[in-house]
C-alpha cells in the first residue's frame, strides 16, 4: 500500500500484486479491517455453524468466533492479510475452542472429549452441511428472543456483519448493537436453547418467525422508520441476501420463494421511489423506466419457483403476485386491476387485516370504480378499523374526490393531514385538498 491508501475501495487488493492479494504487511489498519470484514462476511457462517455444531451452543460459538476476529485485527496489520484468510481464521477459532475446553477439562469428560476430537479433526472438514447453517438460522430467530435481538443476531451470525456494520445499517450506536447481541446470547444460554432445527410440529411457526425477521430487515430498508433518508436500500439488500440464502437452504418451502419474490419485486422499484430532492414518489407517479428489469425477472423466477412446488401461495407469495402485476404493467391505467382485486381478496382471507382491505378498496376503485370502493372503505370506517391512521381518510378523500363530492373530500384530506406523522405525506395531502378549491 502506498500513499494512495485512502483509495483502497477502488483498489481493494492494495494493487500490490502480492500473493493472497490482500493488504500486505504494514498496511493501514482501516484497509485491513475492510479486508477482514469482507472475509468474515463469507467465512462466518461456516465457522460459527461448525463451532456451534461441535459445542452445541451458539453463544459460545459466537464468542469463540469473535475472538478469532479480534486476533486477526490484532495481527494482520503487522503480518499482512494471510494468503488464505478463511483457513487462518478457522485455525485460530479452532485453537481458541480447544483452549476453552482444555481449561474446562478437569470439570468433566465431555469437554476433554470435545477438545480431543477437535484436535484430531482437519480444518478442511470444517464445511458445515446445510443443516448446520439452518440450525444457525433457526437458533438466531428462536422465539425466546425479542424481535430486535433476533434481527441483530441473524445479521451477525448468518449474514456475517460486524456490530459496526449493523449499527451503521440501523442508525443506532455500536454499543446498542453489541448490547443486543450480548443479551441475546445470554437469553439463549438461560433458556438452554439447543443448536437444533425445530421439530416438525413447530416447523411452520418457527419458519414464519425466520421469514418475519428477514422481511422486517427488508421493510426497514424499504420504508425507513428512522434517519434522514426514507429508504435505505443497503439494508434491503442485506435482507435479500438472507432471503436468497434461505431459498438455497430450503428449496422446498414455497413461502421462502414467495418472500424472495416479494423482496426482489419491491426492491426493483428503488431507483424510481425517490425524487431528485430525496422525497418519496408513489407508485402512480413513478418513472417506470427506472425499474430494475433484471431484478423484476429474478422476482418473477422466484414466484414461479414457489408456484412450481404446487402447494399454493401464502401471504408473501400473494403479495409478490400483486407486486408482479404492477411490475409488468406499462402504466397505472394498463395494470390488471381485476387480478389485483382477486389477489387482495385471497390475501384478506388468509390473514384478515384492515390495511389489506383498504388496498383492496383502492384496487376495486381502479377495476370497477370509486363507488364500489367507497362501500368497502365506509364499512372499514364503521368498524372503527384503522382509527387514528391517516390511511383511511386519505383513501376515502381520494374516492370522494373522484365521485365529485369535493366538499367531503376536502374534509377527509384535512383529517388525514392532521393524522400523518410524515411531513412529505402531509404536504402531498395539503396539495390535494387545495387543488379541490
Amino acid at each position: 500500500m502506498s500513499e494512495a491508501g485512502g483509495g483502497a475501495v477502488a483498489d481493494p487488493g492494495g494493487g500490490s500484486g502480492e500473493p493472497g492479494g490482500g493488504p500486505g504487511p504494514g498496511a493501514e489498519p482501516e484497509a485491513v479491517r475492510r479486508a477482514l470484514d469482507a472475509v468474515w462476511r463469507i467465512e462466518s457462517v461456516r465457522i460459527v455453524a461448525t463451532l456451534a455444531k461441535v459445542t452445541g451452543e451458539l453463544p459460545l460459538a459466537e464468542d469463540l468466533a469473535q475472538e478469532a476476529v479480534a486476533e486477526a485485527l490484532d495481527r494482520w496489520p503487522a503480518s499482512g492479510v494471510p494468503a488464505n484468510p478463511g483457513a487462518w481464521l478457522t485455525a485460530v477459532a479452532k485453537r481458541r475452542a480447544i483452549d476453552h475446553w482444555r481449561r474446562r477439562e478437569r470439570l468433566d469428560d465431555r469437554h476433554r472429549m470435545l477438545a480431543h476430537e477437535l484436535e484430531e479433526s482437519a480444518e478442511p472438514e470444517w464445511v458445515p452441511i446445510p443443516d448446520d447453517v439452518l440450525r444457525l438460522v433457526f437458533t438466531a430467530c428462536h422465539p425466546v428472543l425479542a424481535r430486535e435481538a433476533q434481527v441483530a443476531l441473524t445479521l451477525r451470525v448468518v449474514a456475517g456483519l460486524s456490530s459496526e456494520e449493523i449499527a451503521r445499517l440501523f442508525l443506532v450506536p455500536v454499543a446498542t448493537v453489541q448490547q443486543r447481541i450480548v443479551r441475546a446470547k445470554k437469553t439463549l444460554g438461560a433458556a438452554k436453547v439447543p443448536f437444533e432445527s425445530p421439530d416438525p410440529a413447530e416447523w411452520p411457526m418457527r419458519l414464519s418467525a425466520v421469514l418475519g425477521v428477514v422481511y422486517l430487515v427488508f421493510t426497514e430498508g424499504y420504508s425507513a422508520t428512522s434517519g434522514e433518508r426514507w429508504m435505505r436500500p443497503e439494508l434491503a439488500d442485506e435482507a435479500l441476501r438472507l432471503g436468497r440464502t434461505l431459498a438455497a437452504l430450503l428449496p422446498r418451502e414455497p413461502e421462502v420463494h414467495g418472500l424472495v419474490a416479494l423482496m426482489e419485486l419491491q426492491a426493483s422499484r428503488f431507483a424510481a421511489r425517490t425524487a431528485r430532492d430525496g422525497s418519496p414518489v408513489t407508485l402512480d407517479d413513478q418513472d417506470r423506466r427506472l425499474w430494475d428489469r433484471a431484478q423484476i425477472e429474478r422476482g418473477r423466477v422466484a414466484l414461479a419457483r414457489c408456484d412450481a412446488l404446487g402447494r399454493g401461495r401464502a401471504a408473501y407469495a400473494l403479495q409478490a403476485a400483486i407486486a408482479e402485476c404492477h411490475a409488468i404493467a406499462p402504466s397505472v391505467q394498463q395494470t390488471d386491476w381485476e387480478r389485483i382485486v382477486v389477489l387482495y381478496e385471497a390475501l384478506g382471507r388468509l390473514a384478515p387485516n384492515p390495511v389489506v382491505e383498504l388496498n383492496r378498496a383502492v384496487a376495486v376503485s381502479m377495476a370497477v370504480g370509486p363507488a364500489s370502493a367507497l362501500r368497502i372503505v365506509d364499512r372499514l370506517a364503521d368498524e372503527g378499523s384503522l382509527r387514528g391512521s391517516a390511511l383511511l381518510p386519505s383513501v376515502r378523500g381520494e374516492l370522494l374526490s373522484r365521485l365529485g363530492r369535493d366538499e367531503e373530500a376536502r374534509a377527509e384530506f384535512a383529517t388525514a393531514e392532521g393524522l400523518t406523522g410524515n411531513e412529505v405525506q402531509r404536504r402531498a395531502l395539503r396539495a390535494k385538498r387545495e387543488r379541490l378549491g
Binding site: 483502497a8 475501495v9 477502488a10 481493494p12 487488493g13 493472497g20 492479494g21 475492510r34 479486508a35 470484514d37 469482507a38 472475509v39 462476511r41 463469507i42 457462517v45 446445510p130 447453517v133 456494520e165 443497503e234 439488500d237 442485506e238 435479500l240 441476501r241 438472507l242 432471503g243 436468497r244 440464502t245 438455497a248 437452504l249 431507483a271 431528485r276 418513472d287 417506470r288 423506466r289 427506472l290 425499474w291 428489469r293 433484471a294 423484476i296 425477472e297 429474478r298 409488468i328 406499462p330
Partner: protein, 144 residues
Amino acid sequence: MKYMLIMRTTAEALEASKDLDFEKIINDMGAYNESMITAGVLIGGDGLADAAEGFVVDFSAEAPVVTDGPYGEVHELFNGFWIVQVSSAEEALEWAKRAPLGAGTKLEVRRITDESDFEDFADNEYLQKEKEWRAEEHARAAGE
C-alpha cells in the same frame, strides 16, 4: 453494489485445459457457484462459447472490419462471467479469489454502473431513450 467477474484466459491455457479432467472442472465450478448462491450473492453469469465461433468487429479503419474468430494481437480470451451483488469492493475481491481457476487465467473485477454514475447527464436524450428501450424490451418479454 454489483460487480462483474470477467474470466480471461490465454489461448495456451485454454488449449492445455483440454487435457484436464472435464468432470472435475465442472464439479469445482459447480461447488464455487453453489457457495455464491447459498451466500445470496450470485445474481447472474454465463460461459461464452469457443472464440472460434465468434467474430470481431474492428473500428480502426473508417469502415468497421469484421473478422471471424479472435484475431490480431489477442493474448487473452474472454470466457465467461459472473455477476455478484455484494456489500463492498473488498467482498467482490474475496469471491473472485475463491474461483477454482488455474495458471494462465485471470479474473477482472469490474463494478457495474447504475443510475448514480450518470447523474450529471440525467436529462441526456439518449439516456432517456435507453430507459425507454429497456422498458419496452421488458414489456415485450413480460407479454410473451
